[in-house]
Amino acid sequence: MANQATEYNPRELQACVASKMLEDKKSVFVGTGLPMIASMLAQRTHAPGLLIVFEAGGMGPQSPVLPISVGDSRTFYRAVAASSMHDSMSLTQAGYLDYGFLGAAQIDVYGNINTTIIGDWEKPKVRFPGSGGANDVGSLCQLTIIIMGQDKRRFVEKVDFLTTPGYLDGPGARERAGLPEGSGPYRVITQFGVYGFDEETKKMKLLAVHPGVTVEDVKENSSFEIIIPEQVEITEPPTEEELRLLREIDPTGMSIGK
């Protein structure tokens, strides 16, 4: 591709990779940080018709800069509606949200996520903020994209607390639990690459590595076995234009770094 940048940071790369997953004329449920920037970048490039919905009630905003919070006034700047959480969440449950973004402190092979505690729930070693809207996104959006840091402590055999549902314990488990049919984790983006979930087993599968990353790096930084297919793609690095847009969206570098 023309004008590929030679210098970029991992967060810039992840934002661009996430952005490309979002299709035009679809809807996305967006959380704080990289998800916002990825969605705003998609709107400014290949997906001008992407509908952005925030949990606190902002719908279809056209904010010149990145909001700090999913409830801040930037989330309903030039929006089509400044609504409510009941509205956003009900619409998601009813099937109006194609994509949802999630972050994670821990993830397992089925895409189950922990953002609640490390250790024991009664006496936690570390207390994280909890579900927030994550469980709702993971339960109710049709496809979820998870952006997180990857190492052995984060890619775990078993999450300390199952905050947000992935494929639970395998194929059909979501539907058996009563979660919406056909919904679930779609992609995982880390500093090493991009993962999907195997059709049959619903286990995490490597799809692409970032430039300069090896399959060994991927394996070494996971406590569970990741399915490695014969064909592994290499992600496209950001273009100069994408980097320029990222700086325009996040001029202070609050999400993308300096």
């Binding site: 704080t32 940080g33 949990e55 606190a56 009630g57 902002g58 010149p64 800069v65 700090i68 919070s69 999913v70 409830g71 801040d72 006034s73 989330t75 309903f76 400044a82 609504s83 409510s84 959480m85 009941h86 969440m89 998601t92 449950q93 189950n112 609640t116 729930w121 006496k123 936690p124 070693k125 570390v126 207390r127 994280f128 903020p129 909890g130 579900s131 927030g132 809207g133 994550a134 469980n135 709702d136 339960s139 109710l140 607390f161 199952l162 905050t163 947000t164 549902p165 639970l168 488990a173 058996r176 639990a177 009563g178 979660l179 001029p251 202070t252 570098g253 609050m254 999400s255 770094g257």
Partner: protein, 338 residues
């Protein structure tokens, strides 16, 4: 209905619908009367030790901070609080020892600004107890059920997770589809507090921008305290009744507090005071620093007007207004560390 699973979390603020209805019939006036009082009087009258409280707004947005500081000043104790994406309010109240029990959808974090030292320290040392987990939609639907006067709302979130196991929800078999369904219990907070841009003396409150869950929470709570940027004439409300988010008959107190949401954001009026939030996040890293913060900003002042001068007065608020209106870029200490 067949019960498939019962959450182990504590059921906070639930009442039998008839019991709550009776309470409403006996205690909520339909009279259009002047409810103005000071923040001090409102907290004295309506916030009691042991109460289950909730704030309107979201995270660092439209939080009734003047009331939060007053709760600390009056030394309220053993409060339970709705962690319905409660960020700055709950962190400060936990840090001050007022809130000791939390039902958590989101708490102990400050979104992009990082995790909250005071709240986490309290939970990790056992000073503050997490009594139940839930999700944001879950919490909001607890208030919806409360507002509707029904014991629960059915939903399709949280199923299959530990969030549900540690919540006060139950899973049943839906009598229609036969599929598992989550039942989210109603919540009726003892007192809910809101900051709004305009309200009349009777409590008709208008909100500019997103409502978050204020619509439902105000109608579910037993007592409602409104702080407002300005008190407007009843005619102003009646000229645009479609903007009223909270009607007078659910409101118990109205306090005029300009800049009452500082250091949180008031949409269209003033931006987050990142400098002040940064000062709290820095000081609250230690118990001593936490004390220092309260000595300076809560016990060191006698009223909210003094506090406003202390945090930067007119100059600060004109800057925050310009940032909110995109006329000046934001500055934040936490950004320097990124």
């Amino acid at each position: 209905m067949e019960i498939l699973l019962e959450g182990e979390g504590e059921l906070l603020g639930w009442h039998d619908p008839d019991e709550n209805r009776k309470w409403v019939l006996e205690n909520k006036s339909r009279d259009l009367y002047d409810k103005r009082m000071t923040v001090k009087e409102a907290v004295e009258k309506f916030v009691h030790d042991g109460d289950y409280i909730a704030c309107g707004g979201f995270g660092h947005i439209r939080i009734p901070m003047a009331l939060i500081y007053e709760i600390i000043r009056q030394g309220k104790r053993d409060l339970a609080m709705a962690g319905k994406t409660a960020v700055h309010d709950i962190d400060i109240l936990i840090g001050a020892g007022c809130v000791t029990r939390v039902e958590v959808a989101y708490a102990f974090g400050h979104e992009l600004r990082g995790l909250s030292p005071a709240g986490r320290r309290a939970v990790e040392t056992g000073q503050c107890q997490v009594v139940a987990e839930i999700s944001n939609a879950g919490y909001q639907w607890r208030f919806l059920a409360g507002m509707m006067g029904v014991p629960f709302i059915p939903s399709r979130n949280m199923l299959g997770t530990d969030t549900l196991k540690k919540s006060a929800c139950k899973v049943v078999k839906d009598p229609w589809s036969g599929k598992p369904l989550c039942l989210i219990p109603a919540a009726y907070p003892d007192v809910a507090m809101f900051h709004v841009p305009r309200c009349d003396i009777y409590g008709n409150a208008q909100i500019d921008g997103i409502l978050v869950e204020d619509f439902e929470l105000a109608r579910a709570a037993r007592r409602v305290i409104i702080t407002t940027e300005e008190i407007v004439d009843n005619e102003v409300i009646r000229a645009r009744p479609y903007r009223t988010a909270i009607p007078f008959f659910v409101v118990d107190a109205v306090c005029e507090v300009p800049y009452g949401a500082h250091p949180t954001q008031m949409p269209y009026l003033y931006f987050f005071d990142e400098e002040h939030i940064g000062e709290w996040l820095g000081l609250s890293r230690t118990p001593e620093g936490t004390e220092e913060y309260f000595d300076k900003y809560v016990f060191g002042v006698t009223c909210f007007e003094e506090y406003l001068k202390l945090v930067g007065g007119v100059r600060k608020f004109s800057y925050l207004n310009r940032v909110e209106l995109f006329q000046e870029p934001m500055k934040a200490p936490w950004l320097e560390k990124k």
